[in-house]
């Protein structure tokens, strides 16, 4: 029997301290304190896990596992499709890792003032990008945000259908369908998919007109779309939806908003999206995050499932603090009678987003949008010149575009395997989810890519296809 060694994470793991506390309570053993749990409920054997590791061993163990991952620092990456490689300023990481708010629980507006202010600054800056006055605290992903927004719309107008653009991330659509509930449920929301024009990737307005009606709670579309296209018929789409009494929900990638119009300017009522591009690493998909925003009207405010943080005066004249607003309508306040549900989300990413937006400023967003547009179009041009390769929607996109390989005789999976050998992560394979697009991949180009990177991709693709 080895001597008991106190665990570094547990100050009271010194036997003498435990004895002191037992003596103070007046019981003989810790076991007596578990008397509420009936003996027949107790596990009859010890839990069987590998032996505990000290920090030296743990570090070595984790490094040996992590070394099996390949990174986008080692490989040239063109994957996007819901998790995008953008530049993350080092200051974002430094701020997010601060133990003060990393370890915070909730506190009071006075004791956790700084964190609450940072959250308010997230909402305030995102509100400027969106030109919207009401922004909720973050939700777990873009799909979760869209799902909640659709449910908000059904609560607003009492209808039970939603028209959703067909050119949507299948993962996001699957998340949304869950929020719309299966057909057996009385509160089921019917999802009606709206076709896109095979020539342009834009929404088929005729199909939209034919679909939207008296039961339509909301029309949901995105710009840029999943296939990368800047949907520029927003005003027409909003007019069709509003004429039918439906809400207009628009999904947006906020890093585009230095160069692209804010959705409220073409008629959006509720705007949702991701904030991962704003200072959050891809994290293997663990960087996803979402937001919900709208005009500051009670009609919308009272339907949010999120928590809100509001600026408010303190008891000292002239001083301001930040606290929860409209808490009572949340699931914390009303349980099953609250709006959907809330809980843990991605609140630290909101702080990274706040740092990012402040560092970018108005000019940073305009510049990054321009760099992305020009580099992405250059990449599309280079790839389109490769024999057998076609860019499906060659103009009017932002950072992602569809590349078709039908006439090369190679599958996307094949091409991507060979690109991998050349140190490149090729675009997301669309073959299974969008069979109508043939052997296609979604390529993503951002400000991290240089002209040389794009030329390297083009040369590699040329080589791979010629094989």
């Amino acid at each position: 029997m080895s001597l008991h060694v106190a665990h570094p994470y547990m100050a009271n793991s010194v036997p003498a301290l435990k004895q002191e506390m037992l003596d103070s309570i007046g019981v003989d053993s810790i076991e007596q304190l578990f008397q509420q749990i009936p003996a027949e409920h107790r596990l009859k054997r010890p839990i069987n896990l590998p032996p505990a590791l000290n920090e030296t061993q743990l570090r070595r163990h984790l490094l040996s596992i992590l070394s099996k991952n390949k990174t986008t620092e080692q490989y040239l990456n063109f994957l996007g499709a819901g998790s995008w490689q953008h530049h993350v300023p080092a200051a974002c990481d430094e701020v997010v890792r601060r133990n003060e708010w990393l370890t915070s629980v909730f506190g009071e507006p006075s004791s956790d003032h700084g964190r609450n202010q940072a959250w308010f600054e997230f909402c305030s800056q995102l509100g400027e990008l969106l030109n919207m006055d009401l922004v909720g605290l973050p939700v777990r992903s873009w799909g979760c945000a869209a799902g909640h927004a659709i449910r908000m719309a059904t609560r607003i107008n009492g209808r039970n259908e939603v028209a959703i653009v067909r050119a949507i991330d299948p993962e996001r659509l699957s998340v949304i369908r869950n929020y719309c509930e299966p057909v057996e449920m009385p509160s089921h929301i019917t999802v009606r998919l709206i076709d896109y024009d095979p020539a342009t990737g834009l929404i088929d307005l005729e199909h939209l007109r034919a679909t939207v009606g008296a039961n339509t709670a909301a029309v949901y579309f995105e710009t840029p779309s999943y296939l990368g296209v800047i949907e520029h018929q927003g005003a027409e789409i909003a007019a069709i939806a509003h004429a039918a009494g439906a809400e207009v929900i628009v999904g947006v990638d906020p890093i585009s908003l230095g160069v692209l119009a804010a959705p409220i300017d073409f008629g959006a009522d509720i705007v949702v999206g991701t904030t991962q591009p704003l200072g959050v690493h891809m994290n293997c998909g663990g960087g996803v995050s979402g937001f919900i925003a709208s005009r500051d009207e009670e009609r919308y405010a009272h339907q949010y499932p999120t928590l809100f943080i509001s600026i408010a005066p303190t008891t000292k004249p002239g001083e301001y603090g930040f606290g929860l607003s409209l808490f009572e309508q949340s699931s914390y306040g009303l349980r099953d009678k609250g709006n959907d549900w809330t809980g843990h989300s991605v609140y630290m990413w909101a702080i990274a987003n706040a740092v990012y937006m402040a560092m970018m400023g108005p000019q940073g967003f305009e510049d990054v949008g321009g760099v992305i547009l020009q580099r992405a179009h250059y990449a599309a041009k280079l790839l389109g010149q490769i024999p057998g390769v076609r860019v499906t929607f060659p103009s009017g996109f932002f950072k992602e575009f569809v590349v078709n390989f039908d006439t090369t005789g190679h599958s996307v999976a094949d091409i991507n395997k060979r690109l991998l050998d050349l140190g490149i992560f090729g675009g997301k394979d669309l073959t299974r989810d969008f069979p109508e697009l043939g052997a296609s991949a979604l390529y993503c180009v951002t400000e991290v890519h240089t002209q040389a990177d794009l030329e390297r991709l083009a040369a590699a693709l040329k080589e791979v296809i010629a094989q």
Binding site: L62, L66, N69, S124, E319, S325, K381
Partner: protein
């Protein structure tokens, strides 16, 4: 009380809202100029954007240099108490957030990895996920865990989605439209059940602190889809009849979901599957050592279930054939996705690292210490004037937390629990947790000492409450006007639900400012 209280004052930076800061033309990030060849080939930025979609007025963001932004946020971080003081926040199963875990999770092998990379290049990430799955299976007896849910409430929602898919596969979903929960189960179970389309039946607790078997029998029927319950609850009360509950619900054809948010009191002592449960949930943030971060997150609700329910889990599931890890997407009976991709991988890594640093013996000891510490504190706290314990008839020792009441103090002095929360922070103590809504116990508070803090910290916490009680009975104004040593004074929250006053953004505040 022999403990002397330290003098404390929070940093006061009087930091402006960032929207008021900056100077035109300052930059925090710059991007390299686009290459001439590129420009020549594609033309101007403007020409690449359809006319109707061009941004008009630039966003009114602050214009600041990098250090100005950095130090603004570092000052704000300093004005956040978190675990810098003593934080005994009930119902959260708070843990130390080990720095080695942070250091590992911020390496490029995690941060700079795309979830759609070829599986050959993701073997490390998949091994971590599978490793955590294996650990949680052993702790719960379940057969498969997934990590897609972005928090505990999201895991409860996952359970509702799996419940729907399971009953739908048997053609019984329309009939089984009710979910039973208890008033002491976390609000997220009731809320997600309702949002998933179920009718919610909430059982109330009795004198002994948990609902009666009779109330469950009256609620269970052929309409029962599932039971969603925690045990122990967030008062440290364990329902000893839980096995019989599970049997009754199963007999009626329903499923049983165990919310393990309050795991410390049961960790290594019982296993959900052996009590008969079909599914359970663990919070990898908080319970397994990853940070909570406020309301908070990024977080993970790890959801585990029996082999019978596994086909209905959200896809993909991480599989291991003995040599290679892969993502199994081919799950035709899956309930669909809960969230994009396969989970907050950095959080899973931190939880895996915590589990490996603790080992089974460390986890058992953590459970022991947290229950010991709670009962140790109870003795000190009940000696304080104005403090009582909930459910005085339930005399067995509580597990890892205890629900107390300050109702007596309020009646005798006018000082309520919110006043006390504010005053605590004047001593560098993180304001204690009260209770979820509705408040069944008047003026409730619920400290949870856990296993991280030492006896000295617990003594300090008790001494602070004793000091505040003494103030309440001698000079209540000190407490009622607190805090006095904080970053700011007490928020005037009376108007925060008023549309004329609430301002969730700086834009809204500028518009409404004259109203205040």
């Amino acid at each position: 009380m022999s403990t002397t209280l330290r003098e404390y004052h929070a940093p006061v930076w009087s930091e402006p809202v960032i929207m008021e800061m900056g100077y035109p033309g300052r930059r925090g990030v710059i991007f390299s100029e686009v290459e001439e060849d590129v420009k020549t080939a594609v033309g101007s930025v403007e020409a690449l954007v359809p006319v109707t979609m061009r941004r008009g007025r630039k966003p009114a963001l602050p214009e600041m240099s990098e250090p100005e932004v950095l130090y603004h946020y570092l000052r704000l971080s300093q004005q956040t108490l978190g675990m810098m003081g003593i934080s005994l926040f009930g119902t959260c199963t708070m843990k130390y957030n080990a720095q080695i875990n942070e250091a590992m999770a911020w390496r490029a092998e995690i941060t700079e990895v795309h979830p759609y990379q070829d599986e050959d290049t993701l073997q490390g990430a998949l091994e971590i996920v599978h490793g955590m799955d294996t650990i949680l299976r052993e702790l719960s007896g379940m057969d498969q865990f997934i990590f897609q849910a972005g928090g505990g409430a999201d895991a409860a929602y996952t359970s509702c989605a799996v419940t729907r898919a399971y009953h739908a596969s048997r053609g019984e979903l329309e009939q089984r439209n009710e979910i039973i929960t208890t008033i002491q189960t976390h609000p997220s179970s009731a809320a997600t059940a309702a949002a998933a389309g179920f009718k919610v039946i909430t059982l109330m607790i009795e004198e002994n602190g948990y609902p009666s078997l009779e109330s469950l029998k009256a609620a269970v029927s052929s309409r029962t889809a599932a039971l969603m319950v925690n045990n122990p609850d967030d008062m440290g009360v364990y329902n000893p009849e839980i096995r019989e509950w599970v049997r009754l619900v199963h007999e009626a054809g329903g499923l049983c979901f165990y919310d393990h948010a309050n795991f410390n009191g049961a960790m290594t002592k019982i296993r959900a599957r052996e009590l008969g449960f079909d599914a359970c949930m663990f919070m990898l943030h908080k319970t397994f050592g990853a940070p909570k971060s406020g309301v908070g997150g990024p977080a993970v609700g790890a959801y585990g279930c029996s082999a019978e329910l596994a086909p209905f889990l959200p896809a993909p599931v991480v599989a291991f054939d003995g040599e290679r890890y892969s993502l199994d997407h081919d799950r035709p009976q899956s309930c669909g996705k809960i969230r994009e991709f396969w989970g907050n991988v950095p959080v899973i890594l931190k939880a895996y690292a915590w589990s490996r640093a603790m080992g089974a013996e460390g986890m058992a000891e953590a459970s022991d210490i947290s229950v010991l510490a709670n009962n140790y504190m109870e003795k000190g706290l009940l000696a304080i004037r104005g403090v009582t314990r909930s459910h005085p008839d339930a005399t067995s020792p509580r597990l890892e937390m205890t629900r107390y009441s300050l109702q007596q103090m309020k009646e005798e002095t006018g000082v309520d629990v919110h006043d006390v929360q504010n005053r605590m922070s004047d001593f560098g103590i993180d304001p204690m947790w009260s209770s979820h809504h509705p408040w069944l116990v008047e003026e409730p508070f619920t400290p949870e000492p856990g296993e991280m803090y030492g006896k000295e910290a617990l003594d300090t916490w008790i001494a602070v409450l004793a000091q505040i009680s003494a103030e309440a009975y001698s000079n209540p104004q000190i407490v009622k006007t607190s805090p006095h040593n904080q970053a700011i004074h007490r928020l005037k929250s009376a108007n925060m639900d008023d549309p004329q006053h609430w301002a969730m953004t700086w834009r809204a505040f500028q518009r409404k400012r004259q109203n205040t």
